[in-house]
Amino acid sequence: MKYRLSILIALFFWGCEDQLNLQPEQSLPTEEALSNLNGLETAVRGAYSAMRSLGYYGRNFYVIPEAASDNIIISLANSGRFLNENRYNLNEAQTQAGLWNTGYNIIARVNNVLENIDNVDENRADEKNNLRVQAFFIRGLVYFDLARTFCQPWSKGNGSQLGVPIVTQTEIGNPPRNTLAEVYDQIINDLTQSINAYDAITNDDNRWSPPFFASKLAAQALLSRVYLYQGDNANAEAAATAVINSNIQLVSRNSYVSYWNSEVLTDAGIGRFIEDIFVLRVLSVESLGAEDLGLIYMVEGFGDLRPTQDILDLLPTNDVRRGLIQNRSGDDYIYKFPGRTNFPGLTSPRILRLSEIVLNRAEARAKSGDVVGATADLNLIRTRAGLPSFNPSASEILAEVLLERRKELAFEGHRSYDIFRNELNLERIECNLPSGINCTVPFTSHLTAFPIPRSELNANPNMAQTEGY
């Protein structure tokens, strides 16, 4: 008995030590995860998936420029969402920390990919270049979104004002803020590299297809907006022209409402997507539940964010865009993001579409004195909407282009940027706010940029806060 027991016990001792090297079941060590092309492609999709975060294009970043503008009034009874932004009640504790953290997290994901592309042995230049198209585009877009959120508009310092830290390598450090000019150089450089990589691909099958992935067109389209924000009208016009002259087409008036009711719209005749240049895809299984984008506007959701009377007045019933506003029980609600069957409000946000690029060029032309060119672009959008074309004077053209831009791109995350980058004041006629709160925000205010989040200031001793906060 004694010996049998001892043998049993001895058996237990052996084999236990190996059991201490357990490996996780749903993750891989970093070096293994990025050791081959397939791993890198997966990592790029991981960067796209992070763009769906609630704090970024999932909703908040797409909604805040509207909630903090003259397009939106928050209903009296509300769920408390976007009140601080609407009131310009901005401080270190109440800021777009979600965008800051997510943005740099995406940059880290992309940097990891870019650092490892050349380490992969596989001799597949096309696939590697495709990854560069995606990665550089994503990084350029994220830096642009960070810059326009956390930095004062370009014209307040012509680039010499504080930008955001530029991080292009995987590192754990405490970088200080670069200047805004340096950040814009980085953005333009990234987008240019994306275009160059696209051109270097020999077989078109190796390109991930738009509009759910980046393409040369997407990089050019974004460049036109970046140059516009920077006041570089010539380059903005050139980049926009490259997009407009490609084979992509504007959505027609007849299809306009169904375009907004669809994730993307295909032209049956040419078998291609129309209008959309870059759309961030959100599948039904990726729903954020009650926080899905459209629900903040719709009756079926919160219905908190309603169109202001002045934007309603700008959209007469003969304007096709009025079809995106619906009246329910006497109140008007925004149905630009109605979602899909069984998923009201679940939206793949449109980030770059052709109408914007046309308006970018109109604005660039108006600003550089090309009234004829600007008017042609402007009337393209006006007539598509069902409005008569007209010929504004040289003194009116810029205002008309900006007005048309407000109507066309309403609720798509442009409005407050468009006001402040044009050195205009935000003036709200009605705002449902307690008296004494910022119904009007002058261009000169520090509130035209969001403060750097307190969590970053606490963690990073080299981080400077924007003046005024």
């Binding site: 059991q19 060590p29 769920s79 754990i172 307190r454």
Partner: protein
């Protein structure tokens, strides 16, 4: 007395009255002279005997052959006494050193109370039995010095947190290790949604004792897992003798503890909203349009609708007995606690078998099996739209919940405040009365806890023991959103199933021995090896689109929306030894060592060594104290040692890419954490000095202890600049200490034949202080801060400075002695903390003949708590359209008013409801936690029913709470914040215990 050692031998009555028979009577008492009820009095060599009555008295007819009477009682030394013609024999029984009563079980080892050097708090079965709460963590609240047990939710079965001697960690686990019958078991929460404590699967009536190990000599033997203390639970085992069978029945009800809280009625709320529109400058026309006076025609009390009376039930049957070679304990129990929110509750079915068998002289084997199944139905809580708590605190009283004519339950309101709308387009402002009945949210835990132990006596004083144990947990959760409810409508019904199986197995080998050198030098010791591995998997599936709301299972789903699975595991490999020495049973020394390795830690730091040393001196044995008559025992103890805290997540040391994300229907990956190959356990150093004393022949006993425990290399989420892509990294940084004093006193002011008074008292003081945070001195943590020199959970908030009497706007301290009207300009300051200064437990038990009354007070004092709910409900007009508590009407109205609340305006008043000390309150409370009135039926009645013992009782739980806290209930989870919380309940139950 807790053990009804039933040996009523009815044979006594059938013995014929023969000539020469003698009657002997007398009384059996313990060392303090208190009568022992249920002691066995048996004439040796016969079947003649009886049990003593409640005063310890007996009368026995001695047959002619009888010469010796045997007096025995569990935990006491049996005595054989020759009759020698006497008619009265009074016996005082002495405690037995190795008996059940005196043994202190410490997991791997057991020792006697006399020998113990460690700091161990013992909670006996009598404190736990029949208390109508599901979780043993709730039952030990206030019963042991140095133990803080709190529950954050009144949801029956939800997680409890237990802290022993303060909070020992910031980012790693803070709860103790649990050991049941010698085996480390899984604890905590295994559910994906809601909160459920796996320990609630244990039937507390099966527990013999709960021993809480607090100091180094006790916890070091648990090495890398012992730092937060160890709770050793021992279940009842068989006792040699006639089988003792018992049935218990209990029933009652519970109600929510709302502390007199009231919401506005329709009239009050309408007036409030009209006034705040007026104050914000709306025209009279707009006011009459938005808030017409006719609204007040409907008045629904949503708070009343949210809560109801819950039922309590318990049925139990158990048997306990055995022979010389085989002993057993078996029990079966059903327990039900309905929640105070409709349709929430907790049910448990459990059975246990503990068998011990001696096969011959040297070999023994035992097996314990506990099967349990719990069904916990959760209320949707928090501020989700379908939560009854959120609804009760926000639904406007002028909305109806049912059609006044047909009685049909209405659905909810549209966002534009259509008051009686019958559609459910919006998920806002749900009618929870209706939704609650249609939706389901439950977790069902099935747990098998078993071990088999084989022991072999190699030599007379050397024993080897092998234990194999398994802890199998299967958790099945379901959440159903009915297609005809506002939340489910969007998906045409949504069903989520989550299945979590977890298996832990343990191999444990122990070698125990003892020897004596000469007459005075006694040695004993234990050496052991242990391996434990856990594998937990999780599978979840979600479907939507249901044709019929009655068919809410995944098969009927038209669209599967999510399938996911994950798995995780950990393992520990340990070697340990402990040696004890004593000199003449007066001076005691102990030393232990343990080496541990875990898969959780980085390769560079996988193995760790922990040790402890301790000693004690029984001063009563010393000559200079022999003359103090009043002093019956005195022992001084001291210990020092180390232990570790390994409770971090699994795989935290690796740099990993995880594959949980996707884009465009294809898998995506992302870096999940910063690598840390040096990651290791937190080290804990603890020192303890204790004094055990007994006076007046042990009628006044107690323990006083002082301790210090220092956590070093504390695992801390060090914030990183987000520009790295991460916001924090887990590092071994930081030191923290807890220091405290504990006092436990047991007194018997009266111990008479008829009247007894027993007092149990404990008080513990703990001071927590962060000593170092590596390269920084302060890490903000929401509205709290970790700062060197301050306790963990220090509140870090702007100081509220009241209301400006001139214009009714809020004011805060500007940090420079003045006030500011701008919240941004008010600096965060440390304004208190959520760690209690001291906790007290006091139990008084009064026994008069068969009647007994006990009441147990529990007090937690000197901490601050924060009510986040008030951000919504006490918000000066923000959250327009949502109802308010009655107190919100008391506010600034006109210049000159000195008011507690700012002027109420649509949209709120100048950030007045932002975080500040406005919502920080003193969380101290004293609570009558438990009161029991019991009556033991007279023996004559019981005998008529052929039963041995019947006790009936009435019991109240949480019947009285004294507090300044203005919220629902001051007992909060350890973080000290209140947020749309399921309040705790007050219950009244009635029960009967029957012994067969």
């Amino acid at each position: 007395m807790k053990n009804y050692f039933l040996l009523i031998l009815f044979g006594v009555f059938s013995v014929s009255l023969s000539w020469g028979q003698v009657t002997v009577s007398g009384r059996v008492t313990d060392a303090s002279g208190q009568g022992l009820q249920g002691a066995t009095v048996l004439v040796k060599g016969t079947t003649v005997g009886m049990l003593t009555n409640e005063n310890g008295e007996y009368i026995l007819d001695i047959p002619a052959t009888g010469e010796i009477i045997v007096f025995s009682y569990v935990g006491m030394k049996a005595q054989d006494i020759a009759i020698n013609g006497r008619e009265t024999i009074n016996v005082q029984l002495e405690l037995d050193d190795v008996s059940l009563e005196e043994v202190v079980v410490m997991g791997y080892t057991r020792t006697s109370k006399q020998k113990v050097i460690s700091s161990v708090a013992v909670v006996g079965a009598e404190k736990i039995e029949n208390v109508p709460l599901p979780d043993v963590n709730q039952l030990i609240q206030g019963q042991a010095a140095g133990v803080l047990s709190t529950g954050g939710s009144g949801q029956p079965g939800s997680s409890q947190s237990v802290r022993i001697r303060g909070t020992g960690s910031i980012n790693a686990g803070r709860g103790p290790l649990y050991v049941i019958d010698g085996v480390i078991i899984e604890t905590g929460d295994f559910v994906a949604t809601g909160s459920s404590d796996i320990l609630a699967n244990l039937n507390a009536n099966d527990i013999e004792s709960v021993n809480i190990l607090k100091d180094a000599t006790a916890i070091s033997l648990y090495g890398a897992r012992g730092a937060n203390g160890v709770i050793v639970i021992n279940t009842k085992r068989g006792i040699e003798g006639k089988t003792q069978i018992q049935a218990r029945i209990q029933g009652g009800f519970s109600e929510a503890n709302l502390n007199g809280f009231e919401m506005m009625n329709a009239q009050e709320f309408l007036q409030y909203e009209r006034e705040l529109m007026q104050a914000a400058g709306f025209s009279q026309g707009e006011i009459d349009l938005q808030r017409p006076l006719s609204l007040a025609n409907v008045d629904t009390d949503w708070l009343d609708l949210a809560f109801n009376r819950g039922q309590q039930q318990m049925y139990e049957f158990s048997a306990r007995g055995g022979s010389k070679s085989t002993r057993f304990f078996v029990s079966g129990n059903y327990f039900l606690q309905e929640g105070t929110i409709a349709l929430s509750g907790f049910e448990r079915y459990s059975v246990r078998t503990n068998v011990d068998h001696k096969a011959g002289e040297k070999f023994d084997i035992s097996m314990d099996v506990n099967l349990s199944y719990t069904d916990q139905t959760n209320a949707f809580s928090g501020n989700s739209f379908l939560s009854p708590i959120s609804g009760a605190l926000s639904n406007a009283p002028w909305t109806r919940y049912k059609d006044p004519l047909t009685g049909e339950l209405l659905v909810g309101r549209t966002p534009n405040d259509n008051i009686e709308a019958l559609n459910f387009e919006s998920f806002l402002r749900d009618n929870f009365v209706r939704t609650n009945q249609l939706n389901t949210n439950y977790s069902r835990n099935f747990r098998t806890l078993g071990n088999i132990t084989a022991g072999y006596q190699i030599l007379d004083n050397l024993r080897i023991q092998q234990k194999i144990a398994a802890d199998l947990i299967n958790v099945n959760e379901k959440q159903q959103l009915h297609p005809e409810t506002p939340d489910g409508f969007r998906f045409n019904g949504l069903v989520s199933d989550v299945f979590t199986p977890s298996i832990t197995y343990t191999l444990q080998t122990l070698l125990t021995g003892n020897f004596t050198l000469g007459e005075s030098h006694n040695f004993d010791g234990v050496g052991g090896f242990e391996f434990q591995q856990n594998d937990t998997e999780r599978f979840l599936a979600q479907g939507q689109g249901f044709a019929d709301g009655r068919l809410l299972n995944l098969n009927s789903s038209s669209l599967p929306v999510g399938v996911g699975g994950s798995g995780t595991s950990y393992s520990f490999l340990s070697y340990f030894a402990q040696a004890n020495y004593n000199f003449q049973n007066t001076y005691y020394l102990t030393a232990s060592i343990r080496r541990d390795a875990s898969s959780r830690f980085g390769e560079n730091n996988r193995w760790g060594t922990f040790y402890s040393v301790g000693g004690s001196w029984r001063l009563t044995e010393a000559a200079f104290l022999k003359n103090f008559e009043a002093l019956s025992s005195l022992k001084l103890r001291a210990s020092f040692g180390t232990s570790g805290n390994a409770e971090i997540g699994n795989f935290q040391s690796l740099a990993t890419y995880s594959f949980g994300s996707s884009y465009d229907g294809q898998p995506g990956s992302a870096p999940t954490q910063v690598p840390n190959p040096d990651l290791t356990w937190e080290n804990n150093e603890s020192s303890n000095i204790g004094l055990d004393f007994g006076f007046f022949n042990e009628r006044l006993t107690g323990t006083a202890e002082v301790y210090r425990r220092t956590s070093r290399d504390m695992l801390l989420n060090r914030p990183l600049s987000a520009t790295s892509g991460f916001t924090s990294v887990l590092r071994n940084l930081g030191d923290m200490k807890n220091e405290g004093i504990e006092l436990t006193v047991n007194a018997k002011p009266f111990a008479g034949r008829r009247f007894n008074w027993d007092i149990d008292f404990n008080i513990s003081f703990n001071r927590n202080e962060i000593l170092s945070l590596a390269d920084t001195t302060e890490i903000p943590n929401g509205i709290q801060v970790w700062r060197v020199g301050e306790p963990i959970r220090s509140w870090f908030l702007p100081q509220w400075a009241g209301v400006n009497p001139a214009d009714g706007t809020p004011l805060w301290a500007d940090g420079e002695g003045g006030v500011t009207g701008t919240w941004e300009d008010a600096p965060d300051q440390i304004v208190g903390n959520a760690e209690p200064d001291f906790i007290v437990g006091l139990t008084n038990t009064l026994t008069f003949n068969r009647l007994s009354l006990s009441f147990f007070f529990y007090a937690v004092q000197g901490h601050e708590v924060y009510d986040v709910t008030r951000f919504f409900i006490d918000s000066d007009g923000a959250n327009f359209g949502e109802n308010r508590p009655v107190y919100a009407a008391d506010r600034w109205r006109q210049p000159g008013d000195v008011a507690e609340r700012p002027q109420a305006l649509v949209g709120g008043n100048n950030n007045g409801n932002n975080n500040s000390t406005r919502y920080l309150f003193d969380g101290s409370y004293i609570r009558l936690r438990n009161v029991v009135l019991g009556y033991v039926l007279p023996t004559s009645w019981t005998k008529t029913l052929s039963l041995s013992n019947i006790r009936v009782y009435a019991q109240g739980q949480n019947v009285l709470t004294i507090t300044d806290y203005p919220g629902w209930d001051p007992e909060l989870a350890e973080a000290g914040t209140e947020f749309f919380r399921y309040p705790s309940s007050r219950s009244y139950t009635f029960g009967i215990d029957v012994g067969f």
